[in-house]
């Protein structure tokens, strides 16, 4: 806190606590609510049990299946977005070519265009080219909405990379491929991994675009939850939401362990 500020420090702390509370509380409500022993979605829960978790696994194969669909879709689209993001990021940062600015804007445009518009547009486009309600269409849609996140993080780490590092490695006898493998990739790894994680989460939780691209045979978990909420809000919905949360959380934890928490955010720019 800046010294000499006119706000008393307790007020400042209360404000911060309030902000944190408003971020965490709704999520906590859903999480805790999923352990209810009662028959309706209420807070505080009526008793604690794993009753609805069992119900979901036993009697809601559609939700379980949707969970796996979402997981696979998120992994595939994040991997594709990261690969494309790496290539695009290199082009945007390392080469000065006509159309670089418009291209940057184009790559980031899915962030600026409302996702409902993207959903409708994708549906029309995919139907036209004969991919309407096809799994490949769903994947394509998710790659498009996750790409900006992958590119942004990869570009940020590439910009922070001194080009002289690559030149130095070249002069020391490393070919282009060796330079990429031994110098560039290790140094932008934090950006690449963060890009992948963010892309995964964006795909995993997306409703708006998926809504237009899913088929009766292939529904993602968020879309399914959305359907439940509209028709019959049972505590099973909160369990499904909790599963989404757990999956994201576990993935972040695993990747952070793999890459190292300090490496993930720290050493990329040193």
């Amino acid at each position: 806190m800046i010294e000499g500020s006119r706000w008393p420090s307790w007020l400042f702390r209360v404000a911060i606590a309030a902000i944190c509370l408003f971020i965490i509380a709704p999520i906590a409500v859903v999480l805790i609510g999923s352990f209810t022993a009662g028959d309706s979605v209420v807070f505080p829960p009526q008793g604690l049990s794993l009753r609805w978790y069992v119900t979901l696994v036993r009697g809601h194969a559609d939700l379980v299946e949707a969970f796996w669909v979402s997981l696979e879709l998120a992994l595939a689209s994040a991997a594709l977005a990261t690969a494309v993001g790496l290539l695009a990021g290199f082009a945007l940062v390392r080469y000065d070519f006509a159309g670089r600015q418009p291209l940057t804007l184009l790559f980031l445009s899915p962030l600026l265009v409302p996702s409902i518009v993207i959903g409708i547009a994708m549906l029309q486009f995919l139907s036209t080219i004969g991919l309407g309600f096809h799994p490949a269409g769903l994947l394509l849609g998710h790659v498009i909405i996750t790409l900006p996140f992958a590119i942004r993080l990869i570009v940020a780490s590439l910009v922070g990379l001194d080009p002289a590092l690559e030149l130095a490695a070249r002069s020391l006898g490393a070919g282009r491929l060796a330079v990429f493998r031994r110098i560039t990739l290790p140094l932008i790894r934090a950006g690449v991994v963060s890009g992948f994680i963010l892309a995964f989460i964006v795909s995993f939780e997306n409703v708006t675009v998926s809504l237009f691209l899913v088929s009766p045979q292939l529904v993602t978990l968020p879309v399914r939850i959305f359907g439940y909420i509209e028709n019959s809000p049972t505590p099973v919905v909160t369990v499904a939401s909790a599963l989404l949360l757990f999956a994201s959380g576990v993935l972040i934890a695993v990747l952070q362990r793999l890459v190292g928490v300090d490496r993930l955010w720290g050493s990329a720019h040193s």
Binding site: L165, L167, A168, A169, S171, A178
Partner: protein, 355 residues
């Protein structure tokens, strides 16, 4: 055979010509400095030698071998960058060993070469540190060790001292020269710092706008600058503009205001030519009475600027202003009016104006 031959190099960036038909030979073991203001093309030349850039015309030869089509990784050139460009994710050992690893040198050979290189730069014992755990001067040494460890045919330095503070820079300068003498590798050093160029080099190549102005020993570029640009760029100079009156065998007489000055003759100058006479401040003396046989301008002392060991005296003589530097103990007691700024004709040099 020269270690490096640059033959008619031209490099353009769009409409700007960075290197404009430059030819230069660097002898084996020589320490040559490319000196010039920023944007004069000196770094471009370094990158052309290294192979990071391809010339639009002309050729680079290393040990007589044409380098066209040879990628940087196969040129065997050691480079020290301004930012040092140490690999942050590798230890000092791994950094210095990188070039040997790329050459698939054996473990023992590598260890030996790294130890030797680190000893050369007096960094033995820091092998397991990471670059960010080192001071700027130490990082600089690692960069030198890494470049030397591959036993390159040529060493290139791109303004390597400009990120160090003044005191460390002087220290590293001496050390750098020592290291280069010991390893004896042909070196091209790029800088905009004239002091660096004068103290380090066997020869200095002064550049301006993509062209060579003069290539000569430090003494020669300082004492006998070939062009007005070189004279202005290296050290301080006083410039007096006047008209040539007479030319004899090896001297000329010129008129500046109402004074007559003598100077060594320069080729192509005839009576009536407009010229600039240049003389270094350290060659100008300020006296209360004129001396026979010296060029003498009468004026008054307008300022004395104490600079520590030396003091700069500013003499106004009509429209002209002359600076004289002298040992600080010498000039005390000069009155502010009626002084003479004097110098030996041999210490001055004349260039034609309106070329």
């Amino acid at each position: 055979m020269s270690a490096i031959t640059l033959d008619g190099l031209i490099k353009r960036y769009g409409a700007t010509v960075a290197v404009d038909g430059l030819s230069l030979e660097v002898e084996k073991g020589e320490f040559l400095t490319l000196l010039g203001p920023s944007g004069c093309g000196k770094t471009t030349i370094l990158q052309l030698i290294a192979g990071f850039l391809v010339p639009d015309a002309g050729q680079v030869f290393i040990n007589g071998e044409p380098m066209a089509g040879v990628p940087p990784e196969r040129r065997n050139i050691g480079i020290v960058f301004q930012s040092y460009a140490l690999f942050p994710h590798m230890t000092v050992f791994e950094n210095v060993a990188f070039g040997l690893t790329m050459r698939k040198a054996g473990r023992e050979v590598t260890r030996h070469a790294v130890a030797e290189a680190l000893e050369l730069v007096r960094l033995s014992g820091l092998e397991q540190r990471f670059p960010k755990q080192l001071s700027g001067g130490q990082q600089q040494r690692v960069a030198i060790a890494r470049a030397v460890a591959i036993r390159p045919r040529v060493l290139l330095f791109d303004e390597p001292l400009s990120n160090l503070d003044a005191k460390l820079r002087r220290q590293m300068r001496t050390e750098l020269r020592e290291i280069q003498r010991r390893v004896g590798i042909t070196t091209v050093f790029v800088t905009h710092d004239q002091e660096e160029a004068l103290t380090l080099s066997d020869r200095v190549a002064v550049m301006s706008q993509g062209r060579l102005q003069q290539v000569a020993t430090p003494q020669e570029v300082y004492r006998r600058p070939a062009t007005r640009f070189v004279a202005d760029f290296l050290g301080e100079t006083n410039a007096l503009v006047g008209v040539v009156r007479d030319v004899d065998d090896d001297h000329l007489t010129m008129v500046v205001g109402d004074a007559l000055l003598r100077a060594p003759a320069a080729p192509g100058l005839r009576p009536g030519a407009r010229v600039a006479l240049l003389v270094r401040p350290e060659h100008v003396a300020v006296r209360v009475t004129p001396t026979r046989g010296l060029n003498s301008l009468s004026g008054h002392l307008s300022q004395a600027v104490f600079q520590g060991a030396r003091t700069a005296y500013v003499v106004r003589a009509g429209d002209a202003e002359l600076i004289s530097t002298a040992d600080s103990r010498a000039g005390a007691g000069l009155g502010s009016d009626g002084v003479f700024a004097e110098w030996d004709a041999a210490d001055s040099i004349v260039f034609a104006l309106d070329e």
